[in-house]
């Protein structure tokens, strides 16, 4: 039986430890959005939204909602001093041009080589690509934040993705409810375990071989 591991908020908290002062960061819809709630002390970052906004703050209180001032998830947001607005073409020039330090994306599957699948599942029509393919291809660093297993208990980390890909060889780190895993040229390297989780638990929940020579317990 796979342990439950961390709740979503603590996955976000662990991802937040990867943020460094001065970074420009794009947070994907869903779990990644929570990361901005857990910025380490003294770390100021600039949030980029692919809809054409740089320097937004938190989710706006309901009485300050403005339908023209939103993030890429469609949520009304506040602005920090020094914010700016621009077109979608400029926004993706920032992304593809390598001007973003980091993006945190949700995931459906990640392969041992760092391929990401996060926009469609087989057998469902159409889909919603949004900015995911551009972010995965363009950001300097891609972290995937996701549950280790699907709701049906299937591993999301595999030798090869079986869902339609978002981008090839783009992921550098995976943070899940069970572990922190780095994608390295040698393969997937298990770096940290959630409290109460053992190496065997993570390997059992992962359909790819994990290197696990220097593993420590996650500090939150």
């Amino acid at each position: 039986m796979t342990p439950v591991g961390l709740p979503r908020e603590l996955i976000a908290m662990r991802v937040a430890k990867e943020l460094r002062d001065g970074m420009t960061v794009n947070l994907g819809i869903g779990l990644p959005t929570l990361v901005s709630n857990f910025l380490p002390e003294g770390v100021n970052i600039t949030l980029h939204g692919e809809n054409g906004i740089l320097g937004y703050g938190g989710i706006a209180p309901e009485d300050e909602w403005d339908q023209d001032q939103i993030n890429a998830g469609g949520q009304p947001v506040t602005l920090n001093p020094g914010a700016s607005f621009f077109s979608s073409a400029d926004s993706f020039a920032m992304i593809r041009g390598g001007h973003l330090d980091l993006t945190v994306l949700g995931g459906l599957q990640v392969s041992a080589k760092g391929d990401l699948a996060n926009w469609a599942v087989p057998g469902r029509p159409g889909g919603a690509i949004g900015g995911a393919m551009d972010l995965a291809a363009g950001a300097k660093r891609v972290i995937v934040a996701m549950e280790h297993l699907t709701r049906e208990g299937e591993p999301r980390i595999l030798e090869e993705c079986t869902y339609p890909l978002t981008a090839q060889r783009c992921v550098s780190m995976i943070v899940t409810n069970l572990a922190v895993i780095e994608v390295t040229p040698e393969g997937l390297r298990l770096r940290e375990l959630a409290p109460g989780v053992e190496v065997d638990d993570v390997q059992h929940a992962t359909a790819a071989r994990l290197l696990s020579d220097h593993v420590k317990v996650m500090e939150l």
Binding site: I53, D68, F85, S87, A120, P125, G127, I129
Partner: protein, 229 residues
């Protein structure tokens, strides 16, 4: 030159069946709602639409009520996690509408290229995925890129904050999104604005869309756009 039309219905009166139309906007911000409602009333059919999103909460989805849309070129359309199906999704599942799904940045750049006289370009986005299927790829400096073609359209329906009678436009907050590039990429660009001002009232330093791109201008009324993913 005064480009102001008396109403949204007048501004779109010549849009024929089968037209290709770009619709600006992103979720709740910058949707040309007055022009969409006018084309809904007019009942124009066989539309090829180009937009960032169509789905629940989008006024664009209304055009599916009367089966006005033939095809959408779009980045965000059908969410597997959505609680219920949009009209567009229902019709897509039944094979009644076509969809070309495009990564959002590629969509923006294809439109930008269309407006700038660039027929095609190479992008890293989508390499090794279904969106690269059947497209030319090339390696530059050791990295693989996929060739994407420009998009232009018969009409662009865009939403700006203020416009002067010549068609110079400024936008409000994050409502600029796709409006700014779409304004450049259509044969006829129709802008609805919240306020029409006299030439000279907009600071030339702050004009975002210069008048050369805008064919027609119309005063809209502000609609609350409720949007949920």
């Amino acid at each position: 030159m005064d480009k102001v039309y008396p109403s949204p219905a007048d501004a779109i009166a010549d849009v024929p069946d089968g037209a290709s139309i770009m619709f600006g906007g992103f979720a709740s911000a910058g949707s040309p709602t007055n022009l969409i409602l006018a084309i809904y009333e007019k009942g124009t059919s066989g539309i090829t639409g180009i937009a960032n999103n169509i789905g629940l909460g989008d006024r664009l989805d209304m055009l599916c009520e009367k089966h006005q849309i033939k095809k959408m070129i779009v980045s965000f359309a059908i969410r597997a996690s959505a609680r219920k199906q949009s009209l567009f999704e229902q019709q897509y599942v039944k094979g009644e509408v076509e969809m070309e799904l495009v990564p959002q940045g590629t969509l923006a750049e294809r439109i930008r290229a269309g407006g700038a006289g660039i027929p095609a370009f190479f992008t890293p986005t989508g390499v090794g995925t279904v969106v690269a299927g059947g497209k030319e790829t090339r390696v530059f400096d050791g990295r693989e890129y996929v060739m994407e073609r420009a998009i232009t359209a018969d009409y662009a329906f865009i939403k700006a904050y203020k416009g002067d009678r010549h068609g110079n436009l400024i936008y409000r907050k994050s409502s600029r999104n796709f409006n700014e590039v779409m304004a450049t990429a259509a044969r006829i660009t129709i802008a609805e604005v919240e306020e029409i001002v006299e030439p000279g009232e907009l600071d030339p330093e702050l004009v975002v869309t210069p008048s050369i791109y805008v064919s027609r201008l119309v005063q809209g009324i502000r609609h609350d756009t409720r949007w949920f993913a």
